[in-house]
Amino acid sequence: MTNTAALQRYRTMRRIRSFEERVGELFLKGQSAGSMLHLSIGEEAVVGMTDAMRPGDTFTTHHRGHGVFLGRGADPARMMAEIAGKEDGYCRGKGGSMHIADRALGHLGANAIVGGGIPHVVGAGISCRNAGSGQISVAFFGDGAMSQGILYESMNMAALWRLPVIFCCINNQYGMGTRVDRSAGHCDFPARAEAFGLNAARADGADVEAVHDAAGALTKAARQGRPGYLEIDAYRFFGHARMDKSPYRTPEEEAGGRARDPLGTARARLAAEGIASEADLGGIDGDAAAEMDLALAHAIAATPPALSSMFEDVYAPGTPFPRPQADRLRAILSEGARA
């Protein structure tokens, strides 16, 4: 670990935390497109994985993917605008929080179907392998997806075809109100991956450097055609989505989970090792807050998409739009149609 890299990872984690807090504000101001907002607070150590990726690597995420995307270099203003359903958002206000994508940064799409994006990295891995580019494709998903059959079909293919692929499970201990031990008969998920022939590791989600060490080894092997599985052992600090107050878990459990704070751990270590002073860290925190305040203000001020844009992007540019209903009715009922 180089000192600057560790400091940079702290900065990225702080930016994610600040971003997610502003997403909460966007909702409270009634400016978000809907309430299906899944915050990744508590899961910021995923930066250990995103930091082990390179430009040109591709990835997919689940519905709780804001942190992953920021880790891969997203512009928070365009992200926030998308979450607000605005025209200059990453997906022109069509996708929202659960469907952000950016081909330029390798983001092949966030997904609101649990497990939906996982097999895409198998295909993306074939692209990397066949191009001989040395690049990898990473699927980010939650512990909930460990119950979807498509994950195992995908793992088997990745192992069988020796694809440069990583399956990265952000285990925040819950799928909605269901704790992992209520959704799995046997919770040793890395053992499942190993059984398919993958390199498998579990890392402490309160320690971004531990995640980064594990991710470094796995991505190195993956680039040489040995696919891997990384589980980030974290805790979902807040409810499943904005409306969920988590009545199914105790305040004691939550306090314990939140004590495993990757930002707290990183901050303490950076200070203890003399890598950054309290003032340096405070500066990083302040910069992140200011940046995300701007992103929030941008999203609120941004323009909603024109109504006619709903017909765009169903099919490729240059092909006819789906026929709007108004046109169809006109063709049936107008006087001209009768003549």
């Binding site: 299906m36 359903g85 069509k94 469907h99 909930g144 997806a145 009922l333």
Partner: protein, 332 residues
Amino acid sequence: MIETTCREAIRQALVDAMTADPSVILIGEEVGIYGGAYGVTKGLIDLFGADRVIDAPISESAIVGAAVGAAMTGLRPVAELMYVDFIGMTMDQLANQAAKSRYMFGGQIGVPMVLRTQGGTGRSAAAQHSQSLEAWVFHTPGLRLVMPATVNDAYHLLRQSLTQPDPVVFIEHKGLYTMKGALDVATPDGAWGQPVVRRQGGDLVILTYSRMLHEALAAAGQLAAQGVEACVIDLRCLNPLDEAPLIEAVKRTGRAMVVTEAAVTGSVASDIAARLSEVCFDWLEEPILRLGGEDIPIPVSPALEKGSIPSADLIRDAALWLVLRKAPPWAA
């Protein structure tokens, strides 16, 4: 008779069915301790225990498949799919297994299960959580399909579904859970398979179902103020569906439209319009119109989402055009 919500009516139907018939079980994601993503199954695990209210992992295909097996062996499972959008993940179990077992096995093995789910727009939940996919079910012989629009129907159609010998897909609308209305547990609005006239009128017929019923009724109110009387028929059961009352109403008025929230191409509305056109051809003054969702995925932006499905205003405009030949401003 009590005043309650659709959510409570569905819950009451489950409680009453489970109390009356110990073979009824629930299986689905978050149906137990969490009480259902939309709160429909709240408290049922306390009433009936974890052997009958089964919290399942996020494994839709196996949830439906397990329900098929349970139904084959004497239980009467209610499988819950949190969103109808996830039906794709279950489609083999639903369309190849549940729907076809009785037929393929020469009538030996029936699958008396109910798949409860919900769909529709209104929450800016985007393209994978807002769809109206009833046509996928409708197109599959062997499946029954029910979509309630009122509180009383939410209760009775679910109770009736739980007496059927074959698989029933019961699709609720997320926008109706908090809607209030009258529940009379002793009196259904209509028999299984029967459409129900929700408003009388002699100038045209508006055929619809699920949440669009309420847009149609609002439109009918506006039309009445302009001297046009619309007959509004709630289809409720899309399969089985007794067409006789629909045919009678269309022949009587000579003007009809079928309204759905689903993308209009290949929709249930398209099929019903086609059936009625075939039979009522000589009685029609105007073509039977289809009003539906635009043929696009559902966008997240609230204005776009709303603009992509029919509204009371659109229904009113189309009706005035149909009946009075009065073109709306947007026709220009």
